[in-house]
Amino acid sequence: MARYIIKRLVYAVLTLFVLITLVFFMMRMLPGDPFLGEKAISPTALANMNAKYGLDKPVFIQYLMYMGNCLKGDLGVSITYNRPVMEIVAESFLVSADLGIRALIFAVIAGILLGAIAAIKRGTFVDSLSMFVAMIGVSVPSFILGAVFQYFLGLQLRKMLGMNIFPIQGWGTFKHTLLPAFALGLGSLATVSRLMRTSMLDVLSSDYIKTARSKGLSQGQIMWRHALRNAVMPVVTIMGPTVASVLTGTFVIESIFNIPGLGKYFVTSIKDLDYTMIGGTVVFYGALLIICTLVVDLLYGFIDPRVKLEE
């Protein structure tokens, strides 16, 4: 077990190393210059700006310096915001993660329940209804859901009732989290419930369930002790990437609800050619993704003893 974890950690570091290297050189190949604004800068001023961010040195030296700093946990100073990248990422990640966890809790609990019920009540109205909800979640992108929620539940409901139930945009109070978490979570909810339904149907027709029934266990006990625990495996599998993507925020939901999360920096840093910020967001996202996948692999072993972690 320990050997397995160490091995995976070494792989993780190697993956990160390759990722940083690729991103570093790829972003240098993007056309343009981070200081290329609407108005021109005198050559002396430009040289000073390049010197300030270490861009006056040969690219390979910059790469070595960047790698060295990364090892020390220093992702540099953002060219656009003139403050440490770590600070910006940390601040905005807390917001994205806060929203993401809410969305995830909603998606997982509601998704598992919906999927399980659909499987148990297979072929009934309840099944069709829950799969209809899942279909909407899968097929309607979150930015449309977000905009629709904002317009109808935020603006129109307020106009109708004359009171502020769901804030239209912003961040800070519990109320502010409701609509974005719902919009963000619905997609994952749909995936979870569909996976859950399929796997639950499989499990329900397996022999050990029949054995359990013949033992005379109650329906509740069968579902809770035998069916759910086994059926939840595929859901756990997709949790790794889902957690990473939900936690780091989404550009669209954060834009629509004006939430100060990490999502926008993935887009704006590339547009602004803010090298340090591009690097910082990629390293952070990469590390998080790798950790989440590792955690999920480990979780596997705990949930299903048949899975062996050693090769």
Partner: protein, 568 residues
């Protein structure tokens, strides 16, 4: 229909009143449509950029707009008539030769922190220190050139930057000195009739040295509590790329006339979300698009508009003879073929005007605007047409074809476009207009903004839509762009006659004669056409009924909300 007509009439009235420049009075006061935010004494306004709050590092109009509320420069612009009024300087005088300026700092001005507590006095030393930091190459300030007007400042900057062969100059030799706590003496390198326009620029705000050294240059103004404030408001909260909260500074010298308690500056990414927020009473002032303007108009809610001074045009890369666009007659044919009015109505759907001349937002010496002086000198004729003038366009086009030895279908012209829906539409309409009038199949090439700028700076394009906003109220801010050596002249235009005119203007002290030189510059641009001026931008915004009056949006003052009065 009646409602709409009424709205348009109201717009017209608003426009006329705006043109005599009074601080705004809300055109929708008491209508009961959009009452605005609910917190008493506070307003929330949209602000599109707020990346940095260290005044010496600022470059964006809107960032400068926030600094206008949190810092006091030596002078400010009045929200009533956009004229220079005293701010941190109580009074000033200049020597007979115009090279030495002495400012008397207002006694009793205070520095406050993010809790509104007094930290120290504002003195002449704070200006000297801020300007020294602006010129410090280590800080790499983009707008250092605002401080480069002082005697020896450019020489100091070059020397300190390690420019080869630059003679040694120390910061003490630069032309600004605090004679005592309340007297600041400035010496200029050249006569600058518009010097006060420079010191009103928020990049030139003072900085309190003891505090700056305490927090460290790299941390200064990266959060509310790492900066100090001497303006009408102070910052209490800053969520990066999201919002900034400023509260009334009770220690400001004119605080008695400030009735607002708080301004919240919000950055929106999504235009529909912003609209929902306005309609739902979560924000009091937002910029609106042409479509949104129509929607408000249909409701009978008046949309306000202002001129920020931005003039838009097509850059033409004219210095490469292999490019067809280097042919003057082709550029003239294009200018006459474009239907500027149709372009505005199709793309922007607002009050933006087809440019009659190039420079916008600049005052004239004896006329209200500089543009009027140009038109007067041109016999009242516009330099660029409103609608397409097919006859003239074809006449110039025939000459161009003859000179180039090509037929119409061989003409190779490409619009280089930076991505964005509106931008692409803007260029597509022009493409279509050229096809219709000249029979040219112009191409469109869409690039990211950074790549487009790189290609523009390398003169590697045919036509590229760009714009320019003035930094100070003098034609020089627009017209020195097209001199041979100006870093913003991305056209390759190099005219000895033009360069000479600008040099003449730099030393001419008679204001009327000087203005005439600039008029000649405008005419020369129209003649040589390194750029094809297209439109003058009018920017639309709506204000909730909460803001009754006293706010202003004018050239050089994207926002002036200091004296906003709220509805009861």
């Amino acid at each position: 229909m009646k409602n709409r007509l009424f709205a348009w009439l109201l717009c017209l009235v608003m426009l006329l009143t705006a043109s005599v420049a009074v601080a705004e009075v809300n055109p929708n006061a008491g209508l009961g449509y959009y009452p605005g935010t609910s917190t008493p004494g506070s307003i929330a306004v949209e602000c599109s950029t707020m990346s940095v709050m260290n005044t010496i590092d600022m470059t964006y109009n809107t960032e400068l707009g926030i600094a206008r509320h949190t810092q006091d420069c030596l002078v400010k612009l009045s929200p009533v008539d956009n004229q220079i009024v005293p701010a941190a300087a109580e009074s000033w005088e200049s020597s007979a030769d115009g090279l030495t300026w002495t400012f008397k700092i207002r006694p009793g001005m205070k520095w406050v922190n993010s809790n509104g507590e007094v930290v120290g006095d504002v003195t002449a030393h704070d200006f000297v220190f801020a300007w020294s930091e602006l010129l410090n190459p280590v800080n790499a300030c983009e707008y250092f050139n605002f401080a480069a007007v002082f005697k020896n400042a450019q020489a100091y900057y070059d020397y300190a930057s390690g420019v080869e062969g630059a003679p040694e100059v120390t910061i003490d030799q630069v032309g600004f000195k605090a004679v005592d706590d309340l007297t600041l003496v400035c010496e200029l390198e050249n006569v600058l009739p518009y010097f006060l326009q420079y010191v009103k620029f928020e990049v030139m705000s003072p900085i309190y040295e003891p505090f700056y050294t305490e927090v460290g240059a790299e941390n200064y103004a990266t959060s509310p509590d790492t900066a100090l404030y001497c303006g009408p408001f102070y910052m209490t909260e800053w969520v990066l790329e999201n919002k900034i909260v400023t509260k009334k500074n009770p220690h400001w010298w004119d605080a008695a006339n400030v009735s607002l308690d708080q301004i919240e500056w919000i950055k929106y990414v999504d235009s529909n979300a912003k609209m929902n927020a306005f309609q739902g009473g979560e924000v009091d002032l937002i910029d609106v698009t042409g479509e949104q303007r129509e929607m408000f108009g249909a409701e009978g809610f008046t949309v306000s508009n202002y001129i920020g001074g931005y003039s838009f045009y097509l850059y033409c890369a004219i210095d490469n003879p292999d490019r067809d666009i280097s042919n003057l007659n082709l550029r003239k044919a294009i200018s006459y073929a474009l239907d500027r009015e149709q372009l505005i109505n199709t793309v922007f759907k607002n009050d933006s005007e087809p440019s009659p001349t190039f420079a916008l937002g600049i005052s004239g010496v004896n006329t209200e605007t500089f543009s009027e002086a140009v038109l007067a000198a041109n016999g009242g004729e516009r330099l660029y047409p409103v609608n397409s003038d097919e006859a003239k366009a074809k006449e110039y086009f025939a000459k161009a074809l003859e000179e180039l030895g090509k037929t119409a279908d061989q003409i190779d012209v490409t619009f280089m476009v930076s991505e964005g829906t509106q931008n692409e539409l803007y260029n597509q309409v022009m493409q279509e207009q050229l096809r219709k009038v000249l029979g040219i199949e112009a191409k469109i090439e869409v690039l990211t903004i950074t790549e487009a700028r790189a290609r523009r700076n390398a003169h590697n394009y045919d036509l590229f839509a760009g714009g320019w906003g003035p930094d100070y109220n003098d034609p020089m801010t627009d017209l020195d762009l097209w001199t041979t050596t100006n870093g913003n002249n991305h056209t390759g235009y190099s005219s000895a006659a033009y360069d000479e005119l600008i040099e003449k203007a730099k030393v001419e002290t008679d204001m009327v004669a000087r203005e005439q030189i600039f008029v000649e510059c405008e005419k020369l641009i129209a003649e040589d056409m390194p750029i094809i001026p297209i439109y003058w931008r009018h920017e639309d915004y709506v204000v909730s009924e909460k803001m009754a009056e006293g706010y202003a949006r004018l050239p050089f003052q994207s926002y002036n909300l200091i004296y906003t009065k709220l509805a009861d």
